[in-house]
Amino acid sequence: MPDTLIPPKPITSALDSRFKPSLYARVGIPNSFSLESYQAGGGYQALRRAFAIGNDAVIDEMKKSGLRGRGGAGFPTGLKWSFMPLKDGKQHYVICNADESEPGSFKDRYLMTEDPHQMLEGMIIAGFAMRASMGYIYIRGEYVLAAERVWAAIHDARVAGLLGKNILGSGFDFDLQVHRGAGAYICGEETALMNSLEGLRANPRLKPPFPAQAGIYGLPTTINNVESFCAATQIIRYGWEWYSSMGTEKSKGNKLFQISGPVQRPGVFELPLGATFREMIFDFAGGPLEPIKAIIPGGSSTPMMPWTDTVLDAPMDYESITAQGSMLGTGGLILIPQNYCIVNATWNLVRFYAHESCGKCTPCREGIGGWMVKMYEKLVRGQGKPGDVELILDMSDNIGGKSFCALADACLGPVLSSIKLFRSEYDYLIANGKSQYGGSSRWAD
């Protein structure tokens, strides 16, 4: 885009007339996932531009764009790419983390089923920038359609000379492989993913060495989320200036937000970072269907936030949400209705983490998987005793920050925030043997 489009004031609302959807722009077009459709919309222009400006310039643009990893941790992507030992002459790898298993997150799924070439293009660009000749896409096992569409897209790209030897006559060789997971949340953790990809047990690995030093097969590897690669495509296509014209000072660009729970239109929406919760929930999702008491802002591991005006008017960017005591995470909003028992809701999440604990480290395996889940089950059955909440808090203290990877901490997000915000519901449940609100009985036995 021409330089004249650089706006004086950053775009922080999708309602801003200057805001143009990019990541999700093609979703809804018939056959959006086909190569013809993608190319008709200007697809693979970014790749051509990357070849034209050269690999170092690509990394440079990525750095300047301010893109932060969209897999949850928010690590600056350009910086991550620059950690690769670019001149060591070794085989390098690029991995796409498409294991999206966090409750509340479902953006990667549609990016893959509706616009797989956008992701492939980002990966090829990443491979080119980081001197990798091979890339793997690790797709969550349950995402059957996504895996099929991605496979088909890889096939078409190979036939069209967009993958394989000497891509578009640039002299650059790159190929992609899809690996389907077998249904484990921990495989989304980048080093566990690499173990799984190598055929090993999916336990997270020690860091350091970081993937850029010793990743898959012990060789330099960079791993990014699906959306991060898609964003890379858009950044290289339109330039970093355009990208960084969106968002807030430290959270640049746009992002896919997802919303689930009792709202008019649950789904995926593309907004610039810095848009408010209110804009997302009311302007895009059509507002709640029933009274809400809490928002989980970024996937189930992020602490709940109360349904207040302060929260609703807070911008959705990394810093402001952190300042409010939660995290942007994957941008997967979950709304919890007023008349739903918070202990029951939390139990549902704790069950998830207990079930998904990989078993490597003690606090998570025994603390979450062996104990915390039983405490919640006991509370929900109405068998709680005074002191149980204190015990949960003390256990959380013994788990928090002491586990090997972030999974155990992720479980504590909903636990601690629900106790902090809704302690009275816990106390009522313990005192009366049942909640003042309903809950789901789906898991009660």
Binding site: R201, K402, S403, F404
Partner: protein, 716 residues
């Protein structure tokens, strides 16, 4: 590098883990998943400490604290697992604060919620890391009020190792051990989360080194099945000695209870076996307690047809005096197994000289020994190219195979601290790719090492050696590797070594050409020591195969030539085939009960210490020589370990009575050399294979067949 641990500033090498820094400072941190010689993984989370380090500002100098003017310490926001945290210059570690103690106690509580706490019936009790740490660091009570996880409690992974899945605390030591040390993948975690358990997909732990997991399991989940329920840890008499089942000489602890050998465990010798044993050495000991004879025996009626009757030593000596009185002492043959101690060997040599007999021999042995200085085991693990010719290393010197595995991994060895070997050596990553091109194996029959080598073939070691010397074009790659290597080693096994001087000469030429070191695997455990004594037939003396003598003492050898008709004195622990033809049986102590010195394949002198095993009236070879001396009215020159060691002090200028625990490489130059060996006439390789020894491969306990037939029953 300086670090400060709870106020104590200490100097540690760069790369030290925080846990080792804490131990180096003389303090303690509880840990379960870390284990010396294995990669640190940070799984148990017991070793939490608080840590912080100074930081450099943009100008490259340390950021100073405004108040104190000292470098400002930037603390990690969370407690850190000290086993996976690398200490850095100026780091401050707090291992004893209240918050660290709480973190550790909390972790202890988690570790225990699913542990069955069946200590009273657990063999590990009293030597259990979990028990100890729970006392030291636990709450003493649990707030867990739910059912514990239940799993398989008596699961025989193999006949030697039993698994209790409930006791497992998921430290992953066993899994890592198999992958990292012998390089075999036989155990892993199955399932996930709190349902995770240890299991094997394969029948019976197919490994020659499976017993080591019973040593390193911090709890009673993996136990030695051979010693199961045979004693509590505090009831055992522990004796630190050396295994003599092969020429490696691993350090072991022999555990006896009520005078009976019950268990053997690995003991650390950094230079030799690190802490590992082969299964043969560990489990192959129950033969000793079955059907052992511990009194002298003579024949009823005085003829060989007569049945054995127990006798006193006096009766036996009287009988011997009568028989030996009838023959010339020159006509007495003295024959022994090659696993006797150096002291026994010297006594035998001196006694033969006293008798004036030339008929002395030991077996198994090769007709010729190399005079080149062998590489040490550490050098093997640090070699950059190893050529194995005609050896089945897993059978001939099992733990050498572990050193070869280490070589394939890159030969990185842990640093040693005052508190011992690094507990968490951060230079050891999990899952190291093996550099298979560094190993080439040729032997007539395929063996376990073939699967590890970059190049392996079923061709005889001797013909390969011959072709290598001839510069055969087929071996071009090997020549290249040998030339490129800085520290190449050639290993010769029995298949080649038994062929005699000429072939050995070829091997020596080859290694000299490439500046390599030559390791000839000894025929038996103390062969390298005995090769320096004159224990081979001299002049017209009669070898073990011939045995053309009027009377023979045969110590711990299973067979004698079929046509031997003279007076036969057998010195052994069991009624072997040789014993069935003997006139008098003299009970022998086993290597577990001996004191003395043993020289391993590196030429390292190691000390044997006698375990508290009830061996009745059994004696060692020196004891038998003493008895023969009595019978012949001779005073043997060497009558005990002390007098032998005094003699060695003169010969070698070394005090064998106070060797360091790691042993000491002996310099034999200037003493009677192994070259005398070439005088020996025949190769006795055949006896390598026919000699009885515990089946190394699977640690089975093999009682000599003849002994089995003589006695009914036996419980294995």
């Amino acid at each position: 590098m300086k670090v400060t641990v709870d106020g104590r500033t200490i100097e540690v090498p760069t790369g030290t883990s925080a846990i080792d820094a804490v131990f180096a400072a003389g303090l303690d941190v509880p840990y379960f998943c870390s284990q010396p010689y294995l990669s640190p993984i940070g799984a148990c989370r017991m070793c939490l400490v608080e840590a912080g380090s100074p930081r450099k500002g943009p100008d490259g100098t340390l950021i100073l604290d405004e108040k104190t003017g000292q470098p400002k310490i930037f603390w990690f926001p969370k407690p850190q697992a000290s086993c996976t945290l690398m200490a850095s210059e100026g780091m401050v570690i707090v291992s004893q604060s209240a918050s660290v103690k709480k973190a550790q106690a909390g972790m202890m509580e988690f570790t225990l919620i699913n542990h069955p706490l069946d200590c009273p019936t657990c063999d590990k009790g009293g030597a259990c890391e979990l028990q100890d740490r729970a006392y030291e660091y636990g709450y003493g009570d649990s707030r867990f009020e739910f059912d514990r996880r239940h799993a398989d409690k008596h699961y025989n992974l193999s006949e030697n190792v039993v698994l209790d899945q409930e006791r497992c605390i998921h430290c992953k030591r066993c899994v890592r051990y198999f992958e990292e040390v012998p390089g075999e993948e036989v155990l892993d975690f199955i399932e996930r989360g709190s349902y995770t358990f240890i299991d094997s997909a394969e029948e019976g732990l197919p490994s020659n080194f499976s017993g080591n997991i019973t040593d390193i399991c911090p709890v009673g989940a993996l136990l030695d099945n051979v010693s199961r329920f045979r004693g509590r840890n505090w009831e055992y008499d522990h004796t630190a000695t050396v295994c003599t089942a092969c020429s490696v000489g691993c350090s072991i602890t022999v555990d006896a209870r009520n005078g009976q050998l019950e268990r053997i465990q690995g003991r650390e010798n950094y230079q030799v076996n690190q802490t590992w044993l082969c299964d043969g050495g560990r489990f192959g000991h129950t033969w000793l307690r079955h059907e052992r004879i511990t009194t002298p025996m003579i024949r009823e009626g005085g003829t060989r047809a007569g049945a054995w009757v127990p006798a006193t030593w006096d009766e036996a000596i009287r009988l011997i005096r009568g028989k030996l009185g009838e023959i010339s002492s020159k006509n007495i043959g003295l024959y022994s197994h090659a696993d006797i101690t150096l002291e026994e060997g010297l006594a035998l040599e001196r006694f033969a000289a006293q008798l004036g007999t030339d008929s002395v021999d030991h077996a198994p042995r090769y007709s010729s020994a190399s005079t080149l200085v062998p590489p040490t085991l550490l050098e093997v693990s640090q070699a950059d190219f190893v050529l194995v010719l005609g050896a089945d290393v897993h059978e001939e010197a099992p733990v050498l195979a572990l050193r070869l595995e280490e070589m394939l991994k890159g030969g990185l060895l842990p640093a040693r601290y005052e508190h011992g070997t690094a507990i968490a050596d951060l230079r050891m990553p999990e899952r190291v790719v093996r550099q298979r091109h560094k190993l080439v194996v040729f032997s007539s029959k395929s063996n376990l090492l073939h699967g590890k080598a970059g190049l392996a073939a079923e061709i005889s070691g001797a013909s390969a050696l011959h072709d290598l010397l001839a510069g055969s074009a087929a071996f071009a790659d090997i020549f290249k590797s040998l030339e490129a290597a800085q520290k190449p080693i050639v290993i010769l096994g029995a298949e080649v070594a038994c062929l005699g001087r000429a072939v050995l000469q070829e091997a020596e030429t080859l290694v000299q050409k490439y500046n390599a070191k030559l390791l000839v695997l000894p025929a038996a455990s103390n062969s390298s020591g005995l090769s320096h004594l004159q224990l081979v037939p001299r002049g017209k003396g009669s070898s073990l195969q011939a045995m053309q003598v009027g009377a023979a003492l045969v110590s711990r050898l299973e067979q004698v030539p079929a046509d031997f008709a003279g007076f036969l004195m057998v010195h052994d622990t069991h009624l072997t085939e040789a014993a069935t033809r003997a006139d008098v049986f003299l009970p022998a102590v086993s290597s577990y009960e001996k004191r003395g010195t043993f020289i391993n394949l590196e030429g390292r002198a190691l000390t044997l210490r006698g375990a508290a095993i009830d061996a009745g009236e059994s004696v060692d070879l020196m004891g038998v020589i003493g008895a023969l001396g009595d019978a012949l009215n001779l005073k043997p020159e060497i009558r005990g370990v002390r007098s032998a060691q005094r003699e060695f002090q003169k010969r070698l200028n070394i005090d064998l009575s106070s060797l360091p625990d790691e042993g000491q490489i002996i310099n034999w130059s200037g003493t009677s050399s192994a070259a005398t060996f070439s005088a020996a006439t025949s190769s006795v390789h055949s006896s390598v294979t026919t000699m009885w020894k515990p089946n190394m491969l699977r640690g089975k306990n093999v009682v000599p067949q003849q002994a089995r037939e003589l006695f009914v029953g036996g419980d294995d």
